[in-house]
């Protein structure tokens, strides 16, 4: 009896571990012959706008009937490619995964199509060219970009006697202190600027949105992590920690817990609980939709005091779009892809609708783009040659997870010596990249 018991329990243990490693698969209905399908990550209001753009294409092209599927993430994309049941055109918000898609051939090489149609990718700014290829293999194109800049509440600025946005980090700190309002026991009622890593998209804990503001370089020429060697990183982290300490780490944590989800109408900036923030250009449309009465303005984000020449640059990222391997209607898929990414008309219309940045240089100045000074800030940041995105590596953006593990400890005061910590972090990232490259993967 006891032996049976041991066997049974051991089997349970085995099943438990095996289940953890079994890959998930999901099936998706195949596109019908006369239909082509496009998968996008947008949902709700933004999906509706995208469907409108595609409907216009549909009307003009009688040979196809395009079906748009929204709310797609990278899990679904990989599952479909592995099952062979793919849409005709596929897009992802996670540009860092372009490395995986290109090097594996999961998204097909677009070079033959581009050469056949004599199209030049130089119509896109350098940053967008970078995050849509991997090691020279172009398997994706950019479809609107996300650009980060400063949002500030004009009413609060006026009340505090402040004129114009801060242009350096030391000014940002000074303004933040002036604009902050405290409640009982020092609790934060209104935060001037909240630098807490993990609080909203502008404070991504992998420091992606801050790096271009300090001109911080991630990787050296020989492909090694250099967070400890480039002094910009330490300057950035010290600036951030000083402001955190001024607020009080625990007080900020409580403030963050009380601020609801960033994509709800109760966003702290939108309801006047936050005077300044670094955020993506999409917020312009969200505010217009949710709080049109808000009196605010936008500007490039402030930069490192040691590098005032960086003012005007910012972090850029974007949606990538391509054709998955195993596609059934390759030519029609390419035609749609070409229309969506190269033609300034749909780019302008879609940009107007969801206020993301159109991705070709020509479309930035398109007469079809609805003028809006708050949004124009982001078009300028996007066109700025000093604007940067984060590096695309063999490990995707896995290095960001290691950086994040360190930075969240740092801001809590649990990381010890900064320089020693950054050195250790460099070693960890190098080991991770080496592991990701194992097996001869480029």
């Amino acid at each position: 009896m006891r032996r049976v018991g041991i066997g049974l329990l051991a089997t349970l243990a085995l099943c438990a571990a095996a289940a953890g490693a079994t890959a998930r698969t999901s099936a998706h209905a195949a596109a019908k012959a006369e239909n082509i399908t496009i998968w996008v990550g947008w949902s709700a209001r933004e999906l509706k706008a995208f469907k409108k753009i595609v409907a216009e294409y549909d009307k003009k092209h009688s040979d196809v009937n395009v079906k748009v599927v929204g709310g797609i993430n990278d899990d679904k994309i990989t599952a479909s490619i592995r099952s062979g049941n793919v849409p005709d055109v596929v897009s992802s918000f996670t540009s860092a995964n372009v490395g995986s898609y290109c090097k594996s051939g999961a998204w097909i090489d677009l070079k033959p199509f581009l050469s056949k149609d004599k199209l030049d990718v130089n119509v896109f700014p350098k940053t967008s060219q970078y995050y849509t290829q991997y090691n020279g293999k172009r398997c994706a194109l950019p479809l609107l970009a996300d650009v980060y800049g400063l949002y500030y509440n004009k009413k609060m600025f006026k009340a505090a006697g402040l004129k114009g946005p801060p242009k350096t980090m030391s000014l940002l700190t000074a303004y933040a202190k002036k604009l902050t309002k405290r409640g009982a026991g020092g609790s934060i009622k209104v935060a001037g600027y909240n630098p807490f890593l993990g609080f909203y998209a502008g404070n991504a804990p992998d420091l992606s949105a801050y790096a271009p503001l300090y001109g911080a370089k991630w990787i050296s020429g020989d492909g090694k992590s250099q967070l400890s060697k480039d002094p910009a990183w330490a300057r950035l982290l010290r600036w951030q920690k000083n402001l955190i300490d001024w607020y009080g780490y625990k007080k900020l944590q409580k403030f963050n817990a009380g601020a609801v989800d960033e994509f709800s109408a109760s966003h702290a900036f939108e309801i006047g609980k936050l005077a300044m923030m670094i955020d993506g250009e999409w917020r312009v449309a969200f505010i217009k939709d949710e709080h049109p009465e808000l009196d605010y303005a936008t500007a490039p984000a402030p930069v490192d005091d040691a590098h005032p020449e960086l003012y005007g640059a910012g972090y850029v990222n974007g949606t990538i779009i391509g054709i998955p391997k195993g596609v059934k209607h390759k030519d029609q898929a390419w035609k749609l892809l070409k229309y969506l990414t190269f033609d300034p008309h749909p780019l302008a219309l879609f940009s107007n609708a969801i206020r993301n940045v159109p991705t070709t240089k020509a479309s930035l100045n398109s007469p079809e783009i609805k003028p809006d000074p708050r949004f124009k800030t982001f078009l300028k940041i996007f066109a700025n040659p000093k604007s940067k995105t984060s590096p695309i590596t063999a490990a995707g953006n896995a290095y960001g997870t290691l950086i994040q593990a360190f930075t969240v400890k740092w801001q809590a005061g649990h990381a010890g010596d900064l320089q020693a910590g950054l050195k250790k972090l460099d070693k960890q990232i190098d080991a991770q990249l080496k592991q990701a490259k194992a097996g001869g993967v480029p």
Binding site: A10, A13, A16, A21, G198, E262, Q435, V441
Partner: protein
């Protein structure tokens, strides 16, 4: 071939063999696996900076949550076994949380324990107590998960209750005649009688602890404020805050499905298999000293 053998091979044998094979490869889910020998294991044991924390967190949850769950379930079952009135009502009340889906239960707990707006801290404040930061604090996030675990302990509780009610009446009567008090009866009659159930719940609890995922995944994402699908996909909230909820299976998921590193995730799962097997065998061997089987032939 016997049907069980087919089921065993398809649903257990094949995934197991494939997991072991994949653990020696670089496999990004999209291109075919490439053999890389022991490179994944070398990274696991020498370089991966997250493994240590994930193992510590997992051992913590096993070392703290499992004993507490067993004791709590046993305590509740003892009280329910003695209740004279409303037994059906109380049994239902204590069992009910076990029916709540883990995702919904976790969402509810993160809401209840929100340090700024949650009702628990608001009530504590009215009592003059400054409540902790719960899921927002690396020191309190695991205890918060333990609270969630204790609340949903109904399944073990119901098994304990059945075992306690099943203890032979005559043993209690003769113990009472010998002058044993309530504590002695608990120690010398109840505990030995239900010891197989204690063993069962400890083993099941340890295995569940080794696989602890859903609650940690949901709590970290919701507490970090990135619950919406429109959130920045590049932000990784697993383990929030400060890696305190990064349990071993969460790490495995991160590598397999977020980083497209299924070969390495397989190496992690093989290690989990070995550890789960070893711990289970150790517990069962050790149990020979304290588990009493009424019908066993020595």
């Amino acid at each position: 071939m016997a049907p069980w053998l087919i089921g065993f091979s398809v649903f257990f044998g094949y995934p197991l063999v494939m997991s072991v094979y994949l653990s020696f490869t670089h496999y990004d889910l999209l291109s075919s696996p490439k053999w890389i020998g022991f490179a994944n294991y070398r990274y696991l044991f020498e370089d991966d900076p997250q493994v240590g924390g994930a193992v510590t967190n997992t051992l913590w949850i096993i070392g703290v949550m499992v004993p507490l769950q067993v004791m709590f379930a046993f305590g509740v079952a003892l009280m329910l076994a003695r209740a004279r009135h409303g037994t059906g009502f109380f049994r239902t009340i204590f069992y009910l949380p076990a029916l709540a889906p883990p995702v919904a239960a976790t969402l509810a707990f993160v809401y209840l324990l929100n340090p700024a707006t949650g009702p628990v801290n608001i009530i504590l404040k009215q009592l003059g107590i400054e409540g902790p930061l719960w899921f927002q604090s690396p020191g309190w996030s695991k205890p918060s998960l333990v609270l969630l675990g204790l609340w949903g302990v109904g399944n073990i509780m119901i098994i304990f209750l059945a075992a306690i009610l099943d203890a032979p009446r005559q043993l209690y009567e003769s113990a009472e005649l010998d002058g044993a008090g309530p504590l002695q009866r608990l120690r010398w009659v109840t505990l030995p009688t239900i010891s197989p159930v204690i063993l069962f719940s400890v083993v099941i609890g340890v295995i569940a602890g080794l696989q602890y995922f859903t609650q940690a995944y949901v709590a970290a994402n919701v507490a970090a404020g990135q619950a919406s699908q429109a959130g920045d996909q590049t932000v990784n909230n697993l383990g929030y805050p400060e890696g305190s909820t990064l349990f071993y299976p969460v790490l495995l998921y991160q590598h397999g499905f977020k980083f497209f590193n299924m070969g390495y995730a397989s190496a992690l799962s093989v290690l989990l298999l070995v550890v789960a097997f070893t711990i289970t065998v150790l517990i069962i061997r050790n149990s020979r000293r304290w588990v009493h089987y009424a019908g066993a032939v020595k």
